[in-house]
């Protein structure tokens, strides 16, 4: 267990510490050979991209995998769910679920996979190109892509909140006045997507509070943690990039620090997209669990 923990830490943190020592070494080399400075700058960028693009691309690949599996899960489940809905009839009056909502949630997953993730990857590529060739600048383009992605994601979250209006008053221990300071904390401290995050969490909470009457609170918590784990991981890696950028800013070249910052910002947007996917997962899972529970209770 200890070894596993250590290896996880080494995998995630290792490249960042490596970067710090490489920066030290390059500043030494620069000091001895000022004529070599142009070269060290380029070589350092190569090293950083080789070392640190790996965690970023890994999280992208993971999210792509998750979206694909959720989309295929839905495609497999949909006929079954439709048959169940047709068979049950009266049960739906109790649950107050909208079947269109399910379609919307899964549509969001497909949309994220086919449209949002490629655009985000394009923004990342543009950032890398800008840093490799400082004469040809794509910064504004990358920023535009990122901000429009955020706008799309927040519009979808708003649509979710419009859909979920029923059954908000049932027991849900985390909602209400108790988590307001927590929300404020998140909103203040997570840079790009803080308020989006709290809104999403709020609407997920409102939705699952309706369901918590039917399924146990521990099951609900476990569904939540399974669904939100990828998002939290992406968030941690994004923070790692931002922290490293802040740490190396005084003594590194401008390109290096800016590149780290850009990758961090892109990962924050990726985290926002991940929340959309997690929401679809939570919705589908709670839907199915509640449904099966009600069906078996009826017997």
């Amino acid at each position: 267990m200890q070894d596993l923990f250590n290896s996880v830490i080494a995998d995630v943190f290792g490249p960042f510490f490596l970067l710090l020592i490489m920066l030290l070494l390059t500043s030494l080399v620069d000091f001895f050979l000022p004529a070599f400075q142009k070269w060290t700058r380029f070589l350092l960028l190569v090293i950083i991209l080789v070392l640190l693009l790996e965690p970023a691309t890994d999280s992208f690949r993971q999210i792509q995998l998750i979206t694909q599996s959720i989309a295929s899960l839905f495609l497999g489940m949909y006929p079954l769910i439709a048959a169940m809905i047709l068979a049950s009839g009266a049960t739906f009056g109790v649950v107050n679920f909208q079947p269109a909502m399910l379609l919307f949630a899964q549509g969001a997953v497909v949309f994220a996979e086919k449209f949002l993730l490629p655009i985000l990857l394009t923004a990342l590529l543009l950032d890398i190109l800008t840093r490799l060739m400082p004469d040809i600048v794509f910064t504004r383009m990358a920023d535009l892509l990122r901000t429009s992605l955020l706008a799309i994601v927040s519009a979808m979250v708003a649509a979710y909140s419009i859909f979920i209006t029923a059954g908000g008053a049932l027991t849900w221990s985390l909602s209400g006045a108790l988590n307001e300071p927590l929300k404020e904390l998140i909103r203040q401290n997570i840079p790009v997507i803080g308020s989006l995050l709290t809104d999403t969490l709020g609407s997920i909470g409102r939705y699952s509070s309706g369901a918590s009457a039917y399924i146990g609170i521990w099951l609900l918590l476990s569904i939540w943690s399974v669904a939100l784990l990828p998002a939290v991981k992406v968030l941690c890696i994004a923070f790692l990039f931002r922290w490293t950028a802040a740490l190396i800013e005084p003594f590194s070249q401008k390109e290096v620090c800016g590149l780290m910052d850009d990758i961090g910002r892109t990962l924050f947007v990726l985290c926002a997209i991940t929340f959309l996917i997690s929401f679809a997962f939570i919705y589908t899972t709670i839907f199915i669990v509640t449904f099966i529970k009600l069906m078996t209770l009826g017997k």
């Binding site: 020592i21 490489m22 080399v29 070269w39 080789v50 790996e54 992208f60 394009t122 990342l124 890398i128």
Partner: protein
């Protein structure tokens, strides 16, 4: 520390030679320069690079070695090219520098290839 005095004595010797035998000066200068350069390389530069690499020994990747070795190669090429230019062979020194740059880039080819592959895997289509 001794190397500094040795270098200075070589410089004085060369100054004397340029007065005593001006015709022989270029060939003597070149020979002496090469000998001193090799001496300095093996007594100062290589041990220094080794101790620098020993400092960052724990790092797993080949990047530190690559960086220090390419900086050393670049420095040697620069010095030799400067010597050629001193003798009036500017074109030859240019050629020498270009070849050394290509050698350094060749050392970095695996890393650059890895970088291109990583970026390629990012391209979404």
């Amino acid at each position: 520390m001794a190397v500094i005095f040795q270098l200075f004595i070589v410089y004085l010797l060369l100054l004397l030679l340029s007065f005593a035998a001006p015709a022989l000066h270029p060939i003597l200068y070149t020979t002496l320069f090469l000998m001193v350069a090799v001496y300095v390389l093996f007594t100062v530069l290589v041990p220094f690079a080794k101790s620098l690499l020993l400092l960052v020994e724990k790092l797993p990747a080949p990047y530190t070695t690559l960086l220090v070795v390419s900086a050393g190669l670049y420095y040697m090429a620069e010095i030799l090219a400067l010597q050629m230019k001193d003798e009036g062979y500017g074109a030859l020194s240019q050629l020498f520098q270009t070849v050394m740059k290509i050698v350094i880039i060749t050392l970095w080819f695996p890393s650059i290839k890895q970088l291109i592959e990583t970026i390629h895997s990012l391209i979404p289509w």
